[in-house]
């Protein structure tokens, strides 16, 4: 076992010594998390609204109501608001002109224009805006009723607010019955992007490292290793262990990085690490198989990267599985990434327990056992070939 550790340690050291790995292992994954997180909404809070006026009482009151509903409010002129919507940087815009502001001040009916963007959260935000405006409408009507019943107008507003303070605020929960919306309920785009990147980069990093195995065989380092009091089994175990450590490290790094930098919620971290551990075993076995079958380092790197990207795409690491048609969802279930994705989704979005992910984990473990056995067999043969 000591020999296996020595082999594993030297593989890890070589991996960390390669400067290109600093970018591809430490920087690139976090960059992709940002890109994918932004693509899928950046947040599942209450959305972003642009107001074209915040100087009038009406504008200030709408902004306050939206803020109370956790909606992010930006202010811009009408042209800017339209451009912001067109670029998908806001979910909705409320256009407040001078006439509407004056009408509100006078206690008259007000008509506002609400324009929605084509973002996934725009319909929910529209309801938040309507709720905020309805609240203002109710307040205005209430104050007017008090004034009509003889209350001094200045006291009527204060009385309304006092009364409102004693009643729990109205709450609007937007429940989207759409399957996709429910699948992503409660998670941010970063959460989805981060778990996908864990799977993508664990495989990518492990497979890209298959070239070092060819390098060691070609330079007869493996032959020399076997001339020491070391069994072929120890060499194979060491190679597998080294690749597993690299893959697992990559996965935990993306988890830690996205948690610290983007506030990604991983749910039960121990369960997530378990998924990463089993998935890393699949990646380690695949890396050994590629390194054992091919004799050209460039070809191995190319095949490794290509295979990692294709499997990631099919498994839902580039576009969420929930957006796949049913035929592609079946294809996803043929990849380890597909099962890793499902396990992460269960843990992150639905507070899944070990029992909840047992099925996905069992399939992943099956993948791991099969691929590792194949990789070990092929590596043993390639070692014999190298002698």
């Amino acid at each position: 076992m000591r020999a296996a550790w020595a082999v594993a340690l030297v593989e890890l050291r070589r991996f960390l010594r390669d400067r290109s790995n600093i970018f591809f292992t430490f920087v690139f994954p976090l960059m992709l998390v940002v890109v994918i997180g932004a693509q899928f909404g950046g947040g599942a809070g209450s959305g972003r609204v642009v107001l074209t006026d915040e100087s009038s009482t009406l504008g200030q009151r709408i902004a306050a109501e939206l803020d109370a509903r956790d909606v992010t409010v930006d202010v811009g002129e009408a042209g800017q608001a339209r451009e912001t919507l067109a670029r998908g940087r806001a979910d909705a815009a409320v256009f407040i002109d001078d006439a509407a502001a004056a009408a509100f001040d006078a206690g008259d009916p007000v008509q506002l224009d609400l324009v929605l963007a084509s973002t996934s959260g725009s319909s929910a935000v529209a309801q938040q805006v309507q709720s905020a405006v309805a609240e203002l409408d109710r307040e205005q009507a209430g104050v007017a009723a008090l004034v009509q019943s003889g209350v001094d107008p200045d006291l009527a507003q204060d009385a309304w607010w006092d009364g409102e303070g004693q009643v729990p605020p109205a709450r609007v929960d937007v429940v989207d019955v759409d399957d996709v919306s429910q699948a992503f309920a409660g998670v941010t785009g970063f959460d989805v992007g981060a778990s996908s990147q864990v799977l993508l980069f664990v495989f990518l990093t492990a497979l890209a490292g298959s070239a070092t195995l060819i390098d060691a065989r070609r330079h007869r380092v493996i032959a020399r290793t076997l001339a020491a009091p070391v069994s072929a089994g120890s060499v194979v175990a060491g190679q597998a262990l080294g690749r597993w450590v690299i893959a697992f490290f990559q996965g935990t790094y993306v988890m830690a990085g996205t948690s610290l930098l983007f506030g990604v919620q991983w749910g039960n971290v121990a369960l997530c690490l378990l998924v990463v551990a089993v998935f890393s075993t699949v990646a380690a076995g695949a890396a050994m198989a590629i390194g054992a079958v091919l004799d050209n380092e460039g070809a191995a790197s190319g095949l490794g990267v290509g295979l990692a990207l294709v499997l990631a795409a099919l498994g839902g690491c580039m576009v969420p599985q929930e957006l796949f048609p049913s035929s592609l969802q079946f294809v996803a279930s043929l990849t380890p990434h597909g099962w890793g994705y499902r396990a992460f989704a269960e843990i992150q979005r639905h507070g899944g327990t070990l029992v909840d992910i047992a099925g996905s984990l069992a399939v992943l473990a099956g993948f791991a056992a099969a691929v590792l056995a194949l990789g070990s067999l092929l590596l043993r043969r390639s070692i014999a070939r190298a002698l």
Partner: protein, 317 residues
């Protein structure tokens, strides 16, 4: 000692064979190496050297025959005994992206060296090969000679009973080559058995106590340098340049004991003689009676000629 096949032999190879498909790479090789002995295994490319070495190193299982190291069976399934072996392959079996010391730490760890003992052994072999001041540099920044020396150092870490050096001086500068040869001489002097292969005949002549010439998977001849030369009947050559009666000189020289043949070459004569130093005075006397000699030169047969005689090929072929 080793020649007699005593129990003190570090290596005993007995009639090993090995085929790869239809190709019989080794067709019955036997050899023995005693402690402190340097054994040269010479042969043209494809003669079976590497396969023989792989079997001695326990990397390949012989189809038949036995290999014993320090009295114990050697083979792919016998891992423990391999701690008595140091292998320095022809290829630079090193990790170029790791530092020199890191490479040695790795190979030392494989030999179950740990902690202080490992550090001490690494420091020691770095001194032996003259790389102590470059130990912290990545191997890819080393010169060819430095890599070769580190390649040797990795085989010495655990003080093996047998050190196999497979063409350790290929592609190195004369200075590094000399350093390597001196290291090998020192190791042999310390009692280490060395199996040495090379394409440089002068290295074999300088280092090897005994030499085996292998061709077509068999050891064609084996012995000390002088034994091999006598074995193939190669003669010393005495070349004499001068002016005078070459015919009379030829007749006179043919009467000198030990002279086997006299041939005219250029403006002089060449005598083929069994042991030139012994007969040189009589030869010069006989020639001087008919020639005014300007130059006398003795050329003794070397291993290159023996090799050519036995294999029909130059060693570098």
């Amino acid at each position: 000692m080793g020649q007699d096949g005593t129990s003190t032999d570090v290596v005993q190879v007995q009639d090993v064979t090995r085929s790869f498909g239809d190709l019989q790479a080794v067709a019955g090789v036997s050899l023995r190496i005693a402690p402190g002995e340097t054994y040269g295994l010479l042969g043209p490319n494809g003669a079976g050297k590497t396969t023989t070495i792989s079997m001695i190193a326990g990397l390949l299982e012989p189809d038949s025959g036995t290999v014993q190291l320090c009295g114990e069976p050697m083979g792919p399934r016998h891992t423990k005994i391999r701690s008595r072996l140091g292998l320095v392959p022809q290829d630079l079996a090193l990790y170029p992206d790791l530092k020199g010391r890191e490479n040695l730490n790795y190979f030392g760890a494989l030999q179950n060296l740990r902690g202080k003992e490992l550090r001490a052994r690494v420091d020691e072999v770095l001194e032996v090969v003259g790389l102590a001041d470059r130990a912290k540099d990545p191997v890819k920044e080393y010169s060819g000679g430095m890599k070769r020396r580190l390649n040797i150092a990795a085989g010495l870490l655990h003080r093996p009973a047998l050190l196999i050096l497979d063409e350790p001086t290929v592609g190195v500068d004369p200075q590094s080559r000399n350093a390597i040869l001196e290291s090998v001489e020192a190791l042999s002097g310390e009692g280490m058995a060395v199996l040495y292969t090379t394409h440089y005949m002068e290295e074999a002549e300088r280092l090897c106590d005994r030499i085996g010439i292998i061709d077509s998977g068999r050891v064609q001849a084996e012995g000390t340098r002088d034994e091999l030369i006598h074995l193939v009947g190669e003669l010393d050559q005495v070349r004499m340049d001068g002016t005078g009666d070459l015919t009379a000189a030829t007749d006179a020289l043919q009467q000198v004991p030990g002279v086997q043949r006299v041939d005219p070459v250029g403006g002089g004569l060449v005598c083929a003689v069994a042991d030139a130093p012994v007969h040189l005075a009589a030869i010069v006397t006989a020639a001087s009676a008919h020639l005014e000699l300007s130059d006398v030169e003795i050329t003794r047969p070397d291993l290159e000629q023996v090799f050519l005689h036995l294999t029909g090929k130059e060693l570098r072929d």
